[in-house]
């Protein structure tokens, strides 16, 4: 455990010096503020408090931003060590490769947790300031924060795996961007296209819930929207959230980080310095 903490301390320091902490936090706060300002119109008639509406908007934002931040922080994790030539020496120390990965994960998760807490927190402050009823939405906000951290862990782990597979930072960066495009953007577009052609048939009722749970980003969105019973307030694929039991999307949220770390550990084990 001490070795994991020591690695995490160094990684956090490096990320701080490389401005990752301020970039991640600044980005989340900025986008959250824009959403809070833009989302101030549709209140009153919906029958829910202001913060719950903000959380629904923040969910859509987090689906894009959290995986992006996680991949940006993680693509260099193994490939960067290989390129700098620091890996051979590190691997002669009495520390396992899994401990190294967990140390990096801990540091990156701390940064991500800080960024989303400050970002969402800012939006929540704006909501509470304009609508005192909004304090009822704190449960939804807390759920959004920890599920964002889990979503981040999934993409951090996948980023480490890509970093170990590519072995060069430039290659790893390309793979990370490709993964983000496919998992967060193209996957949903493809599902929407299938729903349209299917016209409410077997795909929409049978395969769609499975497809949504199979993608960590969609599982995150479905979980937060159905937990907040804000399905009605969300359009698009989020509308399908009602068809999926809460425990299933929660299970998907917890399963993916473990799978991603296992994948990263397997990929890292194959790296010969």
């Amino acid at each position: 455990m001490n070795r994991i903490l020591a690695t995490a301390t160094s990684e956090f320091r490096i990320a701080f010096r490389n401005r990752w902490v301020s970039i991640a936090t600044g980005m989340m706060v900025l986008f959250a503020l824009v959403l809070a300002a833009a989302g101030s119109a549709p209140t009153g008639d919906v029958g829910v408090d202001r913060l719950s509406v903000t959380v629904a908007s923040l969910t859509s934002l987090a689906v894009y931003l959290v995986p992006l931040l996680a991949l940006l922080m993680s693509f260099d994790a193994v490939a960067g060590e290989v390129e700098r030539g620091t890996l051979p020496l590190l691997l002669t120390y009495p520390v396992s490769r899994l401990q190294i990965l967990l140390g990096k994960l801990l540091a990156h998760l701390a940064i991500l947790g800080l960024a989303v807490t400050l970002g969402y927190g800012t939006a929540a402050l704006v909501a509470v300031w304009s609508d005192p009823e909004a304090v009822n939405g704190f449960g939804a906000l807390w759920r959004l924060i920890w599920s964002s951290v889990l979503l981040g862990a999934t993409f951090l782990g996948t980023g480490y795996a890509l970093s170990a597979l590519a072995r060069r930072p430039s290659g790893a960066a390309g793979l990370a961007i490709a993964l983000w495009l496919v998992a967060v953007v193209l996957y949903d577009l493809a599902l929407l296209a299938l729903i349209v052609t299917d016209g409410g048939g077997a795909f929409t009722t049978q395969a769609l819930p499975v497809a949504l749970l199979a993608n960590p980003a969609d599982a995150f969105r479905v979980f937060n929207l159905s937990a907040a019973q804000a399905v009605a307030a969300a359009g698009g694929l989020g509308g399908a959230a009602g068809a999926i039991p809460l425990w299933q999307s929660a299970a998907s949220l917890f399963f993916w980080p473990l799978a991603a770390i296992a994948l990263a550990a397997a990929a890292f084990r194959r790296v010969t310095p």
Binding site: N2, T7, R84, L89, T92, Y93, V95, T272
Partner: protein, 299 residues
Amino acid sequence: MTPTLTISRLTKRFQSVEALKSVSLTLEPGRRAALLGHNGAGKSTMMKIVLGLIPFDSGEVSVCGTAPGSPAARAQVAYLPENAAFHPALTGEEQLRHYLALRGENPRQAIELLARVGLGHAARRRIGTYSKGMRQRVGLAQTLIGRPRLLVLDEPTSGLDPVSRRDFYDLLDGLAAEGTAILLSSHVLTEVEARTDRILILSGGELVAEGTLADLRARAALPVAFSVRAAPGHSAALAATFPEGAQGGDGLVRLCCAQSEKLPLLARIAALGNAVIDLDVIPPSLEDIYSHFSRRDGQ
């Protein structure tokens, strides 16, 4: 005494290239061995196998009684890679604190370790601002953590100035006196001559010679060169006495003979009396001995 490092019939192939061919060696506690060889002779490959960084094809390797790269072996082995590299965003002190924590030692020793390698003044500066020699010293400092039983040093003195090199070998002497076995590679023959107990020469993946410098000198049996200068007016007489010698310009004659004929030849030169005004005996240099053993087939 149980050897700290035992390698027997070690063979390593990279695709079609045989990087190491049936190499065997043992290293006892407190002994310092220097590994010499051309680039590509297999020095770094052998070190990486000893450290457990890369697998090997056949043979046996035992490090401190266990398999190379096992947690027990890694806890007792310290390594200095060629061109030691560290994250440029960390300071020397932070980097060493990290390494200390990974070895389960108290991170507070960082400053003291840096002071031992002469980096106390730069401990709080980022490694990105360090020179190559300073980075090499950070590398040295991390090998001093704990009490390693085996030190593996890949070209440890590259980038160090002569004074730092001497300090470095003094550090090694201290560690060896405490029982640490040291395996180091080097290109600089003159410096390993005085500061190591044994020299190992690798060539094309084979261990072609092993022993003290005196052993190797005797085994190579390289000819001794003589440079004889004639007194004015005696050049012709000198040349006539030694027709086998090579004539230099200004009355200088160069002669070569086997080690066993050295004294008889000296007697013949002395017999010339006043005809000779100067004489130099040139033993085979370290470079000559090294290239004698490490020359590859057909060269």
